[in-house]
Symmetry: C2
Subunit: 674 residues, 2 copies
Amino acid sequence: MNPVLFSLIIGLLGLAYVAYTTQQVLGRDQGNADMQRIGKAIQEGATAFLYAEYRVLAIFVAVVAVILALALNWQTALSFIVGALLSALAGNIGMNIAVRSNLRTAAAAQQSLNDGLRVAFGSGSVMGMSVVSLSLIGISALVLLFEGTGVSLEQALQYVTGFGFGASSIALFARVGGGIYTKAADVGADLVGKVEQGIPEDDPRNPAVIADNVGDNVGDVAGMGADLFESYSGSIIAAGALSFAAIAAGELTAATVTLPFLVAAVGIIAAVLGTFLVRAEEGASQEDLLGVLRRAIYGASVLVLVGVAILVLTNPAIGWDLFTVVVIGLVAGNLIGYSTEHFTSYTEKPTQGIAKAAETGPATLLIEGLAVGMVSTAAPAIIVMVAVIGAFYFGGLYGVALAAVGMLSTLGITLATDAYGPVADNAGGIAEMAHLPSGVRDRTDALDSLGNTTAATGKGFAIGSAVLTALALMAAYAQAAGIETLNLLNPIMLGGLLLGAMLPYLFAALTMTAVGKSAMAMVEEARRQFREIPGLMEGENDPDYRTCVEISTQAALREMVLPGVLAVVVPVAVGFILGAEALAGLLIGATASGFMLAVMMANAGGAWDNAKKWIETGVMGGKGSANHKAAVVGDTVGDPFKDTSGPALNILIKLMSIVALVFAPLFGAGLLGF
Amino acid sequence: MNPVLFSLIIGLLGLAYVAYTTQQVLGRDQGNADMQRIGKAIQEGATAFLYAEYRVLAIFVAVVAVILALALNWQTALSFIVGALLSALAGNIGMNIAVRSNLRTAAAAQQSLNDGLRVAFGSGSVMGMSVVSLSLIGISALVLLFEGTGVSLEQALQYVTGFGFGASSIALFARVGGGIYTKAADVGADLVGKVEQGIPEDDPRNPAVIADNVGDNVGDVAGMGADLFESYSGSIIAAGALSFAAIAAGELTAATVTLPFLVAAVGIIAAVLGTFLVRAEEGASQEDLLGVLRRAIYGASVLVLVGVAILVLTNPAIGWDLFTVVVIGLVAGNLIGYSTEHFTSYTEKPTQGIAKAAETGPATLLIEGLAVGMVSTAAPAIIVMVAVIGAFYFGGLYGVALAAVGMLSTLGITLATDAYGPVADNAGGIAEMAHLPSGVRDRTDALDSLGNTTAATGKGFAIGSAVLTALALMAAYAQAAGIETLNLLNPIMLGGLLLGAMLPYLFAALTMTAVGKSAMAMVEEARRQFREIPGLMEGENDPDYRTCVEISTQAALREMVLPGVLAVVVPVAVGFILGAEALAGLLIGATASGFMLAVMMANAGGAWDNAKKWIETGVMGGKGSANHKAAVVGDTVGDPFKDTSGPALNILIKLMSIVALVFAPLFGAGLLGF
């Protein structure tokens, strides 16, 4: 069978799994009327955000599509639209199930821990499988469509770069906009609720509480999903594009063009099978629950290897070298996850060291956290370095892209463990707001705490795969632009590299200050409601959740414009003005510098968060102590680090690479004639 | 006349200026007995640090010299020793005059502001002129010596790379060790004195107060001096080394080999003349004083251009293109200084914005400061990018190195404005400890405040010149290693680049935690003295300043080992194991990433410091308010940023480049056979 057709079919099977699991989750008990009322408010808020985002997105997509059709061709424009639509659809499915399974998870936790885990994880796996299935379906269908119009597979794959660009555009909106939204709501809710009014977290009297809960879904479900949809699509496209030069040079066989599709298809099957391994004993500790999720991920990884081995055995033209490349990608992804966990988990020394620094005040806690974040860049950098060199040794530049495909092949399940976190977090919030018994809250807390760990690991994985994907896209870009050697002794390239190394800092700064500004808008609205709505504090009148959601939404969309424009316009401008080589330098500089900054910010943020949580377990004076206050300062600084700016850098480096790849045919020596 | 001999003579004339100015400064009134007692304690502490450092250094220099003699040749080993000795000598001269002019500045400030300025600036110019004179003398004398043994000028310059390595080694000890020392003493003194005992800054009862004052000299005089000694030497050596390939290719004339020497010599003359422009009116505002220093620097810059124009006119073989390159370097240096001032001065919006963020607590102040630091990377990155591209356009790779020489040509006077700061700072401390009238303290405060601005500008200049020098050294390395194109599509290079981009983070983290550990040792000793020395708090007994100095010294030397080893061993290991190309990638990655991180840390630190100072002028509630407390947290986080880790990155990127250049002849394809 045509391998592309095969992966299209597997993608459709993946969608069938999505439909089945959605049914299962939606069939669960929705709990009491209180829970349903709260759940409904979160659903409405999330939908409001999505639709506001879609309105802006539709204009953006339409404009870019027209530009692409005029500057390049209709095929690229069509691919762009399909990529944007499918990524948005995957995000929509993921958000919809997430905001429906939070209350069901809370209800299921009334039965048992295992029930709660099954519902929350089921929701996560709907998200995970939607992302991989829709991505593979979209790419495969477009390739088949273009081949049907009579163009070569190589040309078809060139057109499909538009799909990656479309996916990147959605990722920009979802990850950057979502990141600003979620932290603005979180900081706003905390400042007015906890600090000014002295009411607990997740208190229904807080006007910003629903926006905060919506934010968890917007940032961690839709944002993370779109981010990885982009990596997943990008790595497949880059691998396909890179195979042709190697085949022409006689370094690879023709079987390698469609191998990325097959590896992705095998990964989908493995991920579906892996989800059935998620099952916990009642009374399971956090350690046990983590073991359950790990077993599922490792199980899926082993299945991928078995599947790829079968591919090699049935088609020896693929060869064991490329099997090794897939192994390298899978192992590297898991190692980065491990290293992230080491630096951000409060059972480990680094995070405990940060907490201990609280004894001499917030300043030393901050210094220690920044130092831990910086040190934590070492392991991922070395892992990716070894992976890049190893993948190249066994498969050339194509190997680098294939390693990214391998790393992301089990994404259906790794993303499930990740998207499960916000559902558990929301379930906890609903349990609190609906005054469920403390035993239930204990169970949702156990699920939530596990979610924090998997979220940190997931962030490391997202960064690692983004870097590998960006490098593969950069290589594909260089090939498409006809660059044979990227000579760094050429100062135009060196200049591009310096400029590129600076962009992540600028991007991070813009997103960080965006959170600050948006949070202020939220604080003012929440203050206004406490002031103007009579009986709000006494619980006699409900706050106006909707306006808070609206404010967070508008602020996020407004603040996203500048960094977004930067990410698209700078590479195009550099390509046209300084030329194709300077742009290559820019991409490499941005990827290397953005990688380190993203890891530093994500891990410092995660470690501060967990240092605070560790103190809250009762050590070092526990909640309310001076140590805890210092840790809260660290956590607040860490919030935009780990949930906004850090993850936004993944988008920056991939988006710039894909923009370069799409526009590569148009760049020349540059206007300045270098 | 032989241009190298000419620059040797100019260097000697520069030394004569140093001797004359030293005489002038030492002839000044030393104030009353109290002042002399305090001044003496600071002198003794500084000397103690220097000698402790020299003991460790002597062993290090001896070991490396033997390795160089065995692995390469005696000439490189000799150059290494001379470079280390002369840099140490320059530091020694600078420290000695600084710790003798602090009390004389305080005494002169009793007469008038202008007198105080003349003494403090005189001390700074002794430091500045020592650095440039000794560097130029050393390089010129070595070149003449080697030529005397019958080798070619090209070979002689290759040997002299050892001089750069020697200078870098001292810079490592002085900048990194000094940076750890100064902040450990500062934080230790503040925590025990201001926080625990509630006594004011610079109170003579504080056992750590002398260590703190010594630290200003160790970090900002000796450290900054050695840093720039390294850049100055490195840029001349790199330009000389890069000229030969261009001459062989017919792109440059033979006159260009010695042009860097001539530009440096012209710069020394210009700097000497410029120092005579420093003269203030009584009652001059800070703005006026800043204007005085600016006039001197700009005057010297114009003189350099006149001198270089004369060189071109008398020897048309040099050509106006290279004149343009010198202009580019000078302008770029000044622009970077400007941009640093904009982001760190409290009369400007960015720093005021940080202060305003204090209203919502320390966390938002920290976020805003980090964002300002990140945004502030944009201007320096673009300036250096344009400078690199422009210099290359007019002079090839040689042009990049010559631009660095041009940027640093007025170093004699820019470093003077920089090294003047700690002297004024110390003078203020002495005025406080010796209970001089408040009018005197007002004058020293005016001088000190100016010193803070020039220190920030100086840091920007140091980073910018370090980056340009590192790039030039990297290019010289690539040439020496026989690399014609640095192909970034070669994943071994890409891997090296990723590793390199990570190293600055690791280095910064190590130096930051080193400050924390050393400060703790200081805190314990100061606490012990308050506990065990009877009548200390009542002023009846003197504290044991010496033990505090000793502790800071030992801690700094101990904590310096790991980052130091890292900076030397990693490039050598990568060169031998992964090969010459991977090492080139590593150098580029480290330079680009280290550049941004250094600017971010230095500017965020400077801005936090000044945000606090702005609040202390009485705005936003002034000293003691909640806003001020939040700003103190920012200042404390910023201390190791701006005075330890940020500046240490200058050393890292240059040291790695010079190590690569020195060992270049030994690297091949790498053990792994790539």
